[in-house]
Symmetry: C2
Subunit: 441 residues, 2 copies
């Protein structure tokens, strides 16, 4: 199998094949909205053609800067939050070893929350390391990364001097305006651009994701090749054979029948942050106007021993999407101890990956039998190429799904509510009235 | 504030105070079921009195064995899954530094899934370390830990010889029977007992959790003292003033009104696995008979930039429980750069923890205004003592909540379904008929 394979054969009795046919006109309407760029939020459709738009020279510059950082430092601190954090982390965790990254730089994260203990411990940890920084923010005023960058910039300038720090800081930000762009110009930092027409959660294949991914030693050329081939594939295929459209349609059908919640299940701990990235992508794209499927993620088989009971027999509000890898890659064999103390004798000499695979098959059947529709998305192997393909697949499927639901999948108006409160409570100039009002509550 | 503080003042208009009064008789009935041990699953109520039942000599032996392991090895590999994994990991992540555990041993985990890449990379990582192992399994035949223990036992015996390995392996298992008990007796491993009347998800305060927690350098005496005082407090308080009963009652009230899903939100990345432990506790206890609140967890402020949009304005099926720490502990200050490039000038010189706290307050108000009832559970500080208290609080609240819902909160019949399929697909002797049936599907 040399393609991404979307399998709805275990969706169970809640899905009848004629329902896909019945949705065809709606899917075609969505297809036209994407094609003609006239749907809600279409000013943020830059990601759709991005894999073929990204210039080879720019990709080479990312690669070169990553190599420059690798030569200067052991650790790259990636400062970003939300869409400026999750995509890179998803790819890096999927594609580098669990213990010590022998492929490229060690990557640490900052600015992805406001916990001072963590920041303090990170600064102490960096004290005796050679450090480089990639700060990623469209505006430069997002509270979390701005605070982290103040702290880390101070540490870098103390450690390397102003000009030494300059060599080790790379900025990814707006092309023309904003606090971080101004600072980068003033300090002379190497800079990459976040395209205007690509929102945070659709930005993993732009320099936002690609620079940290390259610094971690992952082949970004292969990743973009995978994305380019996905772009072509999901543009050309007949709509009912197109995995993006099928996945989007089926999740909408199941939602219309009362499934409120989708659980994304993976069978490799390295896929944890793919789940986090996916939750932002779908949650932020669809969770608005009091609508949207609630996205949750499960790590198997770990969570079969925690959330497994719920999935099998709790409220029947769930459907499950499994992200699988056909070729597990390793051939670690279960040792033959010559004994059967633990009842595993029948597995001696078999690969661990076989047991994992049979656990997956057994789980899919059990969950389907329990009333949980199961969808399967399988990539041929865990590689940069297929990760690029998978990212593009999910982004396009998400856009289609959001349009089918009748929302703008590219805005996020709800994230302002807590920010306004927080700024007022912190005494930000200009929000005095709200401050008084909140403090009276 | 020197107590755990449960605050339902932001539950919003969905909760009226008379509703708690109206549930009083049901809460008293549940209280009697726990007291008289005559409710469903009451043979697994051992955790209820456990903090005062655990003998000082046994606690001392745990401490002594942990010290012995600390003296012998750098890394302790904890082999376990579900309830034999999540509690220890929750406590260890909460109470040891994010980068390098200067307090005690480095803890790594195995047997918590079936991914061969991870196991292979772990074995390579351990090659040049001094290693000890704590294998935790009631039966010794649970597939994930049994496979990991086969591999790690082989590595240990190659590395240290049979008798050297014996010194470095500690077993936590059944008192009398089972594969692991038999193996421990045969090999002469140091052994701790999992009490018969305490199920996995209620076992964190038994040797299951305490040995790895002690090895990580955490004060288990303080943790048990916290749990003992919680036991006394939640036994004696009038039922409507009792935080366990109030939390349980309110989550049931909200569920009865159509809130299908509870999100546990924490504001410290060290609390991630507290969320995982909590999801098992509540998900496995209540998710049965097609009932139960779906438990999900959020890490703030990280997830305000991903799931925040959904919580603010998606389907109104959510309520949110925040777990907070009154005293953040650190005093990392936001540097004053003398400039205001990033718009943070008004925060210069203030502690990062203040911003985190105001983010929490602003979020709670925004979510409540958006139609998400918000509950707050606040502990005075992040310490072993209050972690012990918090564990006990959640376990008792979970038991009360499950009984209110009308389920047996101590069984997990649904987890057998996938296991039966998996064993059959793997060709386990005795499951030939099921194998044929599954393979025909």
């Amino acid at each position: 199998m040399e393609q991404l394979f979307f399998d709805d054969g275990m969706a169970g009795s809640l899905l009848r094949q004629h329902e896909l046919e019945d949705l065809k006109a709606q899917l075609e309407a969505v297809d036209r909205m994407l094609d003609e760029k006239d749907g809600p939020g279409s000013e943020f459709l830059g990601w759709l053609d991005w894999p073929t738009q990204l210039e080879t020279t720019e990709l080479k510059r990312i690669h070169k800067v990553a190599e420059h950082l690798q030569g200067l430092a052991d650790v790259l601190v990636v400062i970003g939050i939300g869409g400026s954090y999750l995509g890179a982390r998803a790819a890096i965790e999927m594609l580098t070893p669990a213990f010590g990254n022998s492929k490229g730089m060690e990557i640490q994260y900052a600015g992805h929350h406001l916990n001072g203990d963590y920041l303090k411990e990170l600064l102490a940890y960096l004290e005796n390391k050679q450090v480089a920084v990639n700060v990623i923010s469209k505006s430069g005023t997002t509270t979390e990364p701005a605070i982290a960058f103040r702290l880390i910039k101070e540490m870098m300038e103390r450690k390397y001097g102003k000009s030494g720090a300059k060599e080790r800081v790379v900025v990814t930000t707006d092309s023309a305006r904003g606090a971080l762009k101004n600072l980068a110009d003033k300090e002379g930092y190497e800079t990459f651009v976040i395209p205007d027409d690509i929102g945070g959660r659709y930005s993993v294949l732009t320099p936002v994701g690609l620079l940290p991914i390259a610094a971690a030693g992952i082949d970004i050329e292969a990743m973009m090749r995978g994305a380019r081939e996905a772009q072509a594939l999901y543009l050309d295929q007949p709509i009912l054979d197109n995995a993006c459209y099928r996945y989007a349609a089926i999740r909408n059908i199941l939602h219309r029948k009362g499934k409120t919640t989708e659980v994304l299940a993976t069978f490799d701990p390295a896929f944890q942050y793919l789940g986090e990235w996916w939750k932002q992508l779908f949650g932020e794209s669809e969770g608005k106007d009091h609508m949207g499927i609630f996205p949750a993620s499960l790590q198997m088989t770990t969570d079969l021993h925690s959330m497994g009971q719920y999935v099998q027999d709790g409220q029947r509000i769930l459907f499950e999407t499994m992200v699988l890898v056909a070729d597990n890659g390793q051939e670690l064999l279960i040792p033959d101890t010559g004994e059967d103390d633990d009842g595993l004798g029948y597995l001696a000499g078999k690969p661990v990956s076989l047991v994992n695979h049979k656990a997956m098959e057994g789980t899919a059947m059990a969950h389907m039998d329990g009333g949980v529709p199961v969808l399967k998305i399988t990539i041929p192997e865990k590689s940069a190429y297929w990760t690029g393909h998978l990212f593009y697949f999910f982004m396009k499927a998400c856009a289609v799904s959001g349009y089918l639901l009748g929302v703008n999948p590219f805005n996020q108006p709800g994230v302002e509510a807590y920010k306004a409160n927080m700024f007022a409570l912190l005494g930000k100039p200009g929000s005095e009235t709200l401050k008084e009002e909140l403090e009276r509550r």
